[in-house]
């Protein structure tokens, strides 16, 4: 039996397509966890990254925080959070957000920092307000890099959100964990394939967002 046979068997079994343990339901749950974690992480990482990048202060502190957060093991945080808080969505969100904040934070900071200073000075010379300089000059130029930080965070979240199943929530991890305990490798491989597909979809969404949002003048470079 090779992996492709498993994939084929999993997806052609119609029992996997319906009900609360069906692929659409689990896919939707996984998407919800991922989007929520990404939204929270972006709500923390983007403002801080934009602000520190714009003022150019606190870069070292930022790198330190990002490195420290990177050192925290996701699975360990999950188990710890469950032991301390109990079951629910919150203990799953903690490791996912801790995982996603560093790439968003550091990339946003670096993106805004590395904007060519000449147009920024020109904007300031024209009397633009600092907030307008940030949002109308720096952010449009830095957008490709900022998006790449969000993308890399999103892919990590999608792949890590499988651990939600370990603490009895849903999502695509359900197939992997259940398959492990039921010795049903078909399920494991099917679940892993679905996660990889969702990650590829995430890549596609960010590619499309880049095409739509990044100004042609910036893209050409």
């Amino acid at each position: 039996m090779n992996v492709l046979n498993f994939v084929n068997a999993f997806f052609s079994d119609s029992a996997h397509w319906h009900g609360y343990d069906g692929i659409p339901q689990r896919f939707w749950e996984h998407l919800q966890y991922s989007l929520l974690a990404l939204a929270v992480a972006a709500a923390i990482g983007l403002p801080v990254g934009l602000l520190t990048g714009h003022t150019g202060r606190g870069g070292n502190a930022l790198a330190f925080v990002a490195n420290a957060a990177r050192a925290l093991p996701s699975f360990g945080l999950l188990v710890l959070a469950v032991l301390l808080i109990g079951f629910g969505l919150l203990p799953v969100m903690i490791p996912l957000v801790v995982l996603a904040v560093p790439p968003i934070l550091v990339t946003t900071y670096e993106a805004v920092r590395s904007v060519d200073p000449a147009p920024v000075d020109a904007a300031r010379g024209m009397g633009m307000h600092e907030s307008r300089i940030l949002f109308q000059v720096e952010v449009p130029v830095a957008l490709p890099l900022i998006l790449s930080g969000l993308r890399s965070a999103a892919i990590q979240i999608v792949s890590t959100a499988t651990i939600a199943a370990y603490v009895s929530l849903g999502g695509l991890g359900r197939y992997i964990i259940d398959g492990l305990y039921q010795r049903d490798y078909e399920k494991v491989v099917g679940g892993a394939t679905l996660v990889a597909v969702l990650a590829l979809l995430t890549l596609a969404v960010f590619w499309a967002a880049g095409r739509l949002a990044v100004s042609p003048g910036v893209r050409r470079r």
Binding site: V3, V79, I155
Partner: protein
């Protein structure tokens, strides 16, 4: 917090034993990943058309959750350390290949031409010119790979008894002793930070020409540090 270091006997290891096991399971894959990544990156540098498909494939590999990898490998390698280490080596590879390619590409053409003019053959030029100049980018990649590897070993606890410090997390749940989970998380974080510090020290040793202290690494190194497809999962 009594019994912080009272490791349940079913783990069959002392705390320091678990640390040794954890470091071995985390660092050997990174070393293997580096050994594999160097030739792959060299090929990608030589044949440019190879790089985009390699990058795409590695991104997909990276998106496969580690637990799924472990479970599928059980069929082939059993519930052993190897089952944990093979996926970790693959993840390291994924982080290291772009870092090395970016680093080697950042070597200016004039430098290469100068080396050739001085009579360096391709091998010597690679070992004595390209690799040292790419060292900051490679080490930036190694930092990400090491941190992620140390964190991911703990997931091995789910496939039996192969998580080293992660087994402590399982024990914390089994015996309802949160202090063991705190111990595991803190120990893993400290190990990751120690390795990070060692790698930064190594970079300073290898690149004595670079300014020290609060200076910023070269753009290529910085890019490798911030944009490899993900870090810790």
């Amino acid at each position: 917090m009594t019994g912080f270091f009272d490791i349940p006997s079913d783990l069959q290891h002392s705390w320091t034993g678990l640390i040794g096991l954890h470091m071995r399971e985390a660092l050997l894959p990174v070393a293997a990943g580096l050994l594999l990544a160097l030739p792959i990156a060299q090929l990608c540098g030589r044949f440019r058309w190879l790089y985009p498909p390699v990058l795409g494939m590695t991104t997909v590999l990276y998106a496969v959750p580690s637990l799924a990898f472990f479970v599928v490998l059980i069929d082939y390698t059993g519930q052993t350390e190897l089952t944990v280490m093979i996926p970790l080596a693959l993840y390291s590879l994924v982080v290291l290949v772009p870092a090395i390619v970016d680093g080697v590409r950042s070597v200016p053409d004039e430098t290469l031409a100068a080396a050739t003019a001085m009579g360096f053959g391709p091998v010597r030029r690679y070992l004595q010119v390209q690799l040292p100049i790419a060292a900051p980018a490679i080490i930036a990649g190694l930092r990400v790979a090491t941190a992620s590897s140390i964190s991911l070993v703990s997931v091995g606890a789910l496939i039996g008894n192969q998580g080293a410090l992660g087994n402590l997390l399982a024990a914390a749940q089994k015996y309802d002793r949160p202090e063991l989970a705190v111990n595991a998380v803190v120990t893993m974080a400290v190990l990751a930070i120690l390795c990070d510090v060692l790698l930064v020290g190594l970079r300073m040793l290898l690149t004595p020409w670079m300014p020290r202290g609060g200076t910023r690494p070269k753009p290529a190194a910085r890019r490798a540090e911030i944009t490899p497809e993900g870090a810790v999962r």
